[in-house]
């Protein structure tokens, strides 16, 4: 089975957001990790290979540092890795990213393409579904559970207030919810880490992919930070009145309900 897993390198969940002099988010000095949802996708990709044989190719788009994310994928058990990297992609929106990744992945044999359902940085949750469209493939988003039998994939995905079971034939794109198939992303062995150093990690530019610079559809005009958390308030009064006031505040002030 030819398995492709899309892996994005993101800021550490603990990272602080700081802006540079141009008001853009400054990645300098920030610890970077593999997008946690993508780790679940990787785990599933590697399990598929362990079950059916084949090749797992990890694909990422990003700057040179994104190689680290791909090394992680290789240490976990991916066979090959491809990084799409080009300064012209710095301002890529989801459409541009999709064009580049689709072009790269179209050149790799793929029966199944896996990715996390969302990246924890921009949180846009678009690229892999767009990718499916661009490659003319069906997709199932936010998959909780799936199995492959012959050519047929049965997948359970999360919908509002429940789940939906789908059947679809390979090739297909699946985006992974955390905890997909009840598995935790594996912790690589030292042997895996040592082997990863020798595995193929290719980098391709837009020119290598036969693409020229692409004009994004969306442009970010500015960034800002949320207002600092307000000091909390203790709600005074008798329990009944306090409970009522709390619900009112949650509804009207916090707008969470």
């Amino acid at each position: 089975m030819n398995i492709v897993v899309c892996v994005k390198q993101t800021f550490d969940t603990e990272a602080k957001i700081v802006f540079d002099s141009q008001g853009r988010i400054d990645p300098n000095g920030v610890n970077l990790i593999v997008n946690p949802y993508d780790e679940f996708a990787l785990e599933e990709g590697i399990r598929l290979k362990e079950k059916f044989g084949g090749t797992v190719t990890a694909v990422s788009m990003g700057g040179a540092r994104a190689q680290e994310a791909l090394r992680t994928a290789l240490a976990m058990g991916a066979d090959k890795a491809l990084l799409v990297s080009d300064p012209a992609l710095n301002d890529a929106d989801e459409w541009v990213s999709t064009q580049a990744l689709a072009q790269a992945i179209s050149k790799i044999p793929h029966d199944i393409i896996l990715a996390g359902r969302v990246a924890i940085d921009d949180g846009s949750s678009q690229v892999c579904v767009r990718l499916a469209e661009e490659l003319h493939l069906p997709s199932v988003s936010t998959v909780l559970k799936f199995s492959v039998e012959g050519n047929k994939v049965t997948a359970v995905r999360e919908i509002d207030g429940g789940t939906e079971t789908l059947e679809v034939e390979l090739p297909v794109v699946l985006t992974a919810q955390k905890g997909i198939n009840g598995n935790e992303p594996r912790y690589p062995s030292v042997a895996g880490i040592m082997k990863a150093k020798k595995k193929e990690l290719k980098t391709m530019t837009l020119a290598d992919l036969g693409l020229s610079a692409l004009e994004p559809k969306m442009k970010i005009s500015k960034y800002d930070l949320p207002a600092p958390r307000q000091a909390g308030k203790k709600i005074p009064g008798e329990p009944a009145a306090a409970a009522q006031e709390l619900v009112r505040l949650l509804h009207e002030e916090a707008k969470v309900l």
Partner: protein
């Protein structure tokens, strides 16, 4: 039986290159495993973690040592190391073996936010850097200047954990009462890095340590008082490797000296039966045994009893080596043994002198529901009580 695995010279070299210099000295006598506190509790970690075997796997370059329950189980208490007949630097070996995976970017899931926070905030507790010194508000603590004798370095835990802040505040009070010339640079400090180094993240340790060394040098720091034995260890044993040479003391050493000199006294009688838990990093690792005992016994009214395991034989609280962030089910926590031991001695107060030990012992005391017969206190808190009427 274990499955047959391949001996790998390459792996062995990789482990050695990560710093496990004395790994090959081990002759597999097994004393380490027998002295290991994990033998005293039941459960999965205890069954899987065998320090002798882990080193053997490393010597042969065999896979298997890197399983989370094995590689990250050691509490670095040092019990094995001080008794090793071959003087194997077992803890260095553990940390180097951890570095084989951690150095490549792989930390067990529960430790990632810890490392993430150390990177982003300079402390492991996800506390905002700007709030590191917030506990000092209203306490009138002098800033360190060129005329200050001692820098007081406060452990991250006591900066951010409200329970632990009481320790820092008590130490400040005692130092003031004794007229010590001290100041702080808290807001600009990083975590000392002791635990993250033991966890094998050498790169992160060096980043944190270098930040502190530069800060200390820039401000002309020569003498440091630490609130935590872990910071004491880092400054004394780790920082010199990076060019950070300072005169470092735990607060108990400073205070005990001042009591001897008559500069600090405890007027208030406390009728208590007190016992002392030697923190591994104060006792075994830094051989500071007498100062806390002298201090406790300087309080009028205190009856002091030793725990069965004390001084060099003290039993770890399980908070070292990064285990302060590890989950262990009830019934398998070393702290429970300490609480039970103290209750058996009919002590009403279990004193220790380390913020990590306090976390672990407090937790065990609450878990065993022994709070009505035994109070867990940091030594500075007890001493403060004896300073003040009421």
């Amino acid at each position: 039986m274990d499955e047959i695995k391949n001996v790998s010279l390459e792996m062995k070299d990789y482990i050695a290159s990560s710093g496990a210099e004395t790994l090959s000295w081990c002759m597999q006598c097994g004393l380490c495993t027998n002295l290991c506190p994990w033998r005293l509790v039941p459960g999965e970690v205890s069954e899987n973690f065998n320090i002798r075997k882990m080193q053997r796997l490393g010597q042969l370059g065999l896979e298997g040592f890197e399983e989370e329950n094995i590689l990250f189980a050691c509490v670095t208490c040092g019990m094995c190391q001080i008794n090793c007949p071959r003087n194997v630097e077992i803890i260095d070996n553990v940390r180097s073996m951890r570095n084989t995976t951690v150095g490549a970017g792989f930390l067990p899931a529960h430790l990632r936010p810890i490392a993430g926070s150390l990177h982003a905030n300079g402390n492991p507790w996800s506390g905002e850097r700007e709030k590191r010194a917030a506990w000092q508000n209203g306490l009138d603590i002098p800033a360190f200047t060129e005329d200050t004798e001692y820098l007081l370095f406060v452990c991250c835990t006591s900066c951010y954990d409200t329970r632990s802040q009481k320790i820092a505040k008590s130490i400040v009070r005692l130092l003031k009462a004794a007229g010590v010339n001290f100041g702080v640079l808290t807001a600009e400090e990083n975590c000392c890095g002791e635990s993250i180094r033991k966890l094998g993240d050498e790169e992160l340790f060096q980043k944190l340590a270098q930040g502190n060394i530069d800060l200390f040098k820039r401000n002309g720091v020569k003498k440091i008082i630490t609130t935590s034995p872990h910071c004491l260890y880092a400054f004394k044993k780790d920082y010199p490797e990076l060019g950070g040479e300072f005169e470092v003391m735990h607060y108990s050493e400073v205070l005990a000296q001042l009591v001897k000199e008559g500069k600090l006294a405890f007027p208030e009688e406390l009728v208590r039966k007190v016992t002392f838990h030697d923190p591994c990093y104060l006792g075994r690792h830094n051989q500071v045994f007498d100062p806390p005992r002298e201090l406790i016994q300087a309080i009028p009214g205190v009856e002091f009893v030793e725990l069965d395991r004390s001084r060099n034989k003290s039993l770890c609280c399980a908070g070292g080596g990064g285990r302060i962030w590890a989950e262990v089910p009830m019934g398998e926590r070393f702290g429970e043994l300490r609480i039970t031991g103290a209750v058996e001695k009919q002590a009403d107060t279990l004193v220790t002198a380390c913020p990590y030990c306090i976390i672990m012992l407090d937790d065990a005391c609450a878990g065993l529901e022994k709070g009505d017969v035994l109070q867990v206190m940091e030594m500075s808190e007890l001493l403060c009580k004896a300073l003040d009427p009421k």
